[in-house]
Symmetry: none
Subunit: 200 residues, 4 copies
Amino acid sequence: MTIQESGAARPAGRPRSEKAEKAIIEATLDLIAEGMGVSELSIEAIASRAGVGKTTIYRRWSNKEDLVVDALSTLKAPLPPLSGTSVRDDLITLLEAMRTESGHQRGRCVMNIAMSEADRHPRLMERFVKRAIEPRRLALREVIERGVATGELRPDLDVAMGMAILSGTMMWHTKWGPAGDLPADLPERIVDAALAGMAP
Amino acid sequence: MTIQESGAARPAGRPRSEKAEKAIIEATLDLIAEGMGVSELSIEAIASRAGVGKTTIYRRWSNKEDLVVDALSTLKAPLPPLSGTSVRDDLITLLEAMRTESGHQRGRCVMNIAMSEADRHPRLMERFVKRAIEPRRLALREVIERGVATGELRPDLDVAMGMAILSGTMMWHTKWGPAGDLPADLPERIVDAALAGMAP
Amino acid sequence: MTIQESGAARPAGRPRSEKAEKAIIEATLDLIAEGMGVSELSIEAIASRAGVGKTTIYRRWSNKEDLVVDALSTLKAPLPPLSGTSVRDDLITLLEAMRTESGHQRGRCVMNIAMSEADRHPRLMERFVKRAIEPRRLALREVIERGVATGELRPDLDVAMGMAILSGTMMWHTKWGPAGDLPADLPERIVDAALAGMAP
Amino acid sequence: MTIQESGAARPAGRPRSEKAEKAIIEATLDLIAEGMGVSELSIEAIASRAGVGKTTIYRRWSNKEDLVVDALSTLKAPLPPLSGTSVRDDLITLLEAMRTESGHQRGRCVMNIAMSEADRHPRLMERFVKRAIEPRRLALREVIERGVATGELRPDLDVAMGMAILSGTMMWHTKWGPAGDLPADLPERIVDAALAGMAP
DNA sequence: CAGTAATCGAGACGGTACGTCTCGTCTTAGA
DNA sequence: TCTAAGACGAGACGTACCGTCTCGATTACTG
């Protein structure tokens, strides 16, 4: 051995093209954003849109699900920064993030897809929850627990139920509320309604 | 003329078989209950399962969506009778109905399907909302409005927001709560948590 | 049973389209005549040229070989009528048929294909020999045997060897002779050269 | 200048590996001998069998044909020595060489390939004829012309036709004769049958 | 002996065709 | 007229090779 090897040796042969990988992800998200469901998505369409051979896709992902999971994962919008001034403000910020994430064309469709197809594709669901849902859930829990600690919320509050009320109500509006964009003051109204039962 | 005609003339030729129709609906529900999404559902699979020719299906429904809507509609569980003794009791009854409807194998899958695929199949969504969601929504609204009238709920309550909180929280648990059957006391806990902010 | 059945019952369902079958054969021969070898022939090209789905081809022939055999078989030009006046005349007629069969664009290519690919596709070979070669071989044998009987040929002639000499020499010219069409007097010259050793 | 240069300067860089070249040729002949046609031959299979990168093949031969021609050329069995005692003996020797060349596993397959694919690959044909067929044809012609000169054959013999009869009859047996090895006395019988029409 | 340059193996690249599958429609004979 | 059966054109599936390209490593000559 003449030169020290740095951990994992680079595999022989031409390295995989990052450009192709990105193009595939982009094409997938484009097609999803154009309203295709996971089942309507065709690998051939993705390949053609990405200007890529089918082999190049199958070399990286062995099935459509894996590709979709990876594609959706790249969209995990960063959590909004929380001001920390008051529980009410932070809750509104979190719900506002949920509201606007569904505002962008892509975000909305991606969310729809994610929620829609999740049950039928359990592995997709699992991975998506881990990457996209869990962090938001955790942030929400922390805000509520902080509120309990600071006395802004009732000391005997059922934290899990509080989370369910806030997320669920927001989600309900997203899904079943009147069509079109959600009103800008919705997060504030939901938080106030929820706080009515959670304040000390 | 040998047999009396009853108003509208019966069309000539062999009448459509009711047996085939039922078999098709049953096969469709079976397949949905086995976890297929609307897109995975294949007319050929339904025909084969029902022991029926594909033509027989296409003659009755021009596309998969129509068939699925009709199939789901046959499952519209009747609304539970409300005791009317108290708003709390009636709300618990309504949420309990939502909980158990998702408990039976078929009901759960059908609900999942309905919720999942709705966005991608707007006409399905529309008809499903009309037949299955609207009546429940209406019942919920009546109970809440009655509570406002009787003084059990705050007079300045935002009725729509109250509905969103109750339905949304229940729905949230159905979708994101811990796996397995929902706990029996969940409706009661949700109602109590919600009433904390809605009582006068 | 109301009507007598005529032997094999017609199978249920829509009968296979003769039109499609013919279009497929035609397309195959066209492509072969355009110079494609069996291996260069693509089922997709045939399907597209014939205006037919690939399924419709695979439903009838399970592989390319079978299709090619059937296609070639439709070209088996009828044997020329033999005058019977003299062995020499009949032999010239037979060899002339071999010569002109290679004259038509299609015939030539088909023959080439048949001879070329035969060894690599033994089943093709076998079936092709049976349908196209055997009848010609038989006719040749009969002429020679008649010549032996009438005294036009040597009584101790090795009939098989005579056939080999006549066919082989003709074939040799087809394959290795100077390019372009074979000269019109070639059959006559071959027959005369061969008869020099076969006449009594 | 340190070392004398031998005419053409050796190109810079690493010289091509003779070992790889041989391995490629060997692998090609192996695969052909295993019954593959030129079209079934895959460069990838050759590369893999030879333990060589595809580049190493494409650097030397720009296409499959060229490779096959070179591979076949390495097999050009030497012409058998002719005793010269009599035309009959020499003809038998030549035909005997044709017969046995088809006996060895490799030789047979190579011959088959050469004859089969020739028409579809004209450049292959041309080069193969030059290297393998032409020398044999020349030898045959010389023997026959010598026979005419010595009086063993008819003075007005059509030499070209005589060649066609001898080669063609032998070829006919190779191609259309009964399966299995050709009988040992076949060359003798053919020569005698042919000489019957060629002797003075 | 260090530098230069063509070669080596490996394997990824954008493609094409494969043979299979399922789609929704069409076309039969029989009920 | 409706039914079951099943053929139809269409097109996506995942695989195998094509011929090209890009890697790091190797191997000879040159300065």
